[in-house]
Amino acid sequence: MDRDATYARLLELIEPFNKKGVALAEETSFANDLELDSLTVMDLVANIEDEWDINMPLNILPDLETVGQLTDAVEKLKG
């Protein structure tokens, strides 16, 4: 339930960066489908941090390739 809400809110946060209008799903890849560059990722991460009042260490970002993985990471960081 919690995860569903996080996922739904994440889709809303990602949407402004979805310049190509890709249909977002669990497996959507940030690099390959959304083609986000490192600077855009930076903005998105800052917005996510503020949304849930969490810090997302840079070290974990390379492992978060898809929307689903990002959702799991946010769930974990929320504690």
């Binding site: 560059d37 490192s38 941090e49 260490p57």
Partner: protein, 400 residues
């Protein structure tokens, strides 16, 4: 066999596409001859340099060159190794003493470049279980230092005090924390609100490191940097700097009053596992740093020409990256990559060398022509630079 270089094909194609438009290579300018700190021969043409970091114009200073020549003759061409393993030369000690005198600190450690100073300081100070909180616009050497170390790295929005406060507030109260700031940010030439940022860092019990690479020599009463100008000398734990800009040679350093600072020499890999500076380079740096202590006329002129260029370009209708001249970096905003490259090319054809900068070196969507001034520029030089900027703009195809 997978060609490991094929991952760079998009960059190869982009660079080729750029050169195919017939422009000079913005990333491959060759100075065939140096006439002075502000003049070089490029493509056979005498060119005004506004794209070096020779802020204090020290590269051709007669005493600096003489000091280097003496050390070159006396100590030989190279250091042939690490100071920890292969020995320190007298000029290394002398340049560290000059730094201690310049900054008024108890300790100074010299690295082989400023890049390595940041790699070493950042990766060694913050270890496993510690946290680094850095400005999003930090220099690549700071980011790379974070990657080299084992601390958790968290980024805050550029120069945003509230954002730093929030991120520090989310960290465990008793964890080791290092906040990393820069006095002047080199892309836009904007100055950090260090007083507010440092106050927040202190409230949360964090130590602070400030990179003053682009402020040495002309901010603060002794030229120590933005932190000195703002009266923060007792608040900052570590200052990092470079010899490659105002000092006019090559090398990097960190200074501090921390009583345990000297141990870093034995535990910091980018210090102990690389060759130390050639003694001649250390000697030129020492001579230059000592002269910078009293270079009030140079400092006054650097500020005068920086303000004059900002005002001149603004009056000529260019969009400036900062509303007012905040440092010796005066950057012009352009709308896109193609327009920036075209203008940069025309400037070089008009005998002006400045820097073209684009994302990811710049913040998202920002394309810049960056000018950096030198104390060796004259008011007449600046009038000429502004006139040539206008002429270069007029010669763009779109203007015809």
């Amino acid at each position: 066999m997978t060609d490991l270089l094929s991952k760079f094909d998009p960059y190869i194609a982009e660079h080729k596409g750029l050169l195919d438009t017939g422009v000079n290579d913005p990333f491959g300018v060759v100075m065939e001859q140096l006439l002075s700190p502000t003049r070089a021969i490029i493509n056979g043409r005498e060119t005004i340099l506004v794209g070096t970091y020779n802020y204090m114009g020290m590269t051709f200073d007669a005493e600096v060159i003489a000091a280097g020549q003496r050390a070159l003759a006396g100590f030989g061409a190279g250091s042939t190794g690490s100071r920890v393993l292969n020995g320190t030369f007298a000029p290394h000690i002398a340049v560290e003493q000059a730094l201690k005198d310049f900054y008024g600190t108890k300790s100074a450690i010299v690295f082989s470049t400023g890049y390595q100073a940041n790699l070493g300081m950042v990766s060694t100070l913050a270890g496993k279980g510690d946290y680094i909180v850095l400005d999003a616009d930090s220099h690549a050497s700071i980011y790379d230092g974070c990657k080299l170390g084992n601390a958790e790295t968290v980024r805050f929005r550029h120069n945003n005090v509230e954002d730093l406060d929030k991120r520090l507030g989310r960290l465990p109260a008793d964890a080791g924390k290092l906040v990393i700031l820069e006095g002047v940010y080199s892309m836009l030439g904007d100055v950090a609100p260090l007083r507010e940022l440092v106050a927040v860092a202190k409230q949360h019990g964090a130590m602070t490191l400030v990179d003053e690479a682009h402020a040495m020599g002309f901010f603060g009463a002794h030229g120590r940097g933005v932190y000195e100008e703002l009266g923060l000398e007792d608040e900052i734990d570590f200052v990092v700097g470079t010899f490659s800009k105002s000092v006019g040679t090559v090398g990097g350093f960190a200074v501090s009053n921390h009583p345990k600072f000297e141990i870093l020499r034995l535990v910091c890999n980018p210090y102990r596992f690389t060759a130390s500076l050639p003694p001649s380079v250390a000697a030129t740096a020492e001579a230059s740093i000592r002269k910078l202590m009293t270079a009030t006329e140079k400092r006054r002129n650097l500020w005068a020409v920086s303000r004059q260029l900002h005002a001149g370009l603004k009056a000529a209708g260019f969009r400036m990256a900062t509303e007012t001249p905040e440092s010796a970096i005066i950057a012009v905003l352009l709308p896109d990559q193609a327009g920036t490259v075209a203008m940069w090319h025309q400037l070089l054809e008009h005998g002006i060398y400045c820097n073209m900068s684009r994302p990811p070196a710049t913040p998202a969507g920002i394309f810049l022509l960056r000018c950096s001034l030198s104390a060796a520029h004259t008011a007449e030089d600046v009038r000429e630079i502004v006139a040539r900027f206008a002429a270069a703009r007029d010669s763009l195809p779109a203007a015809a």
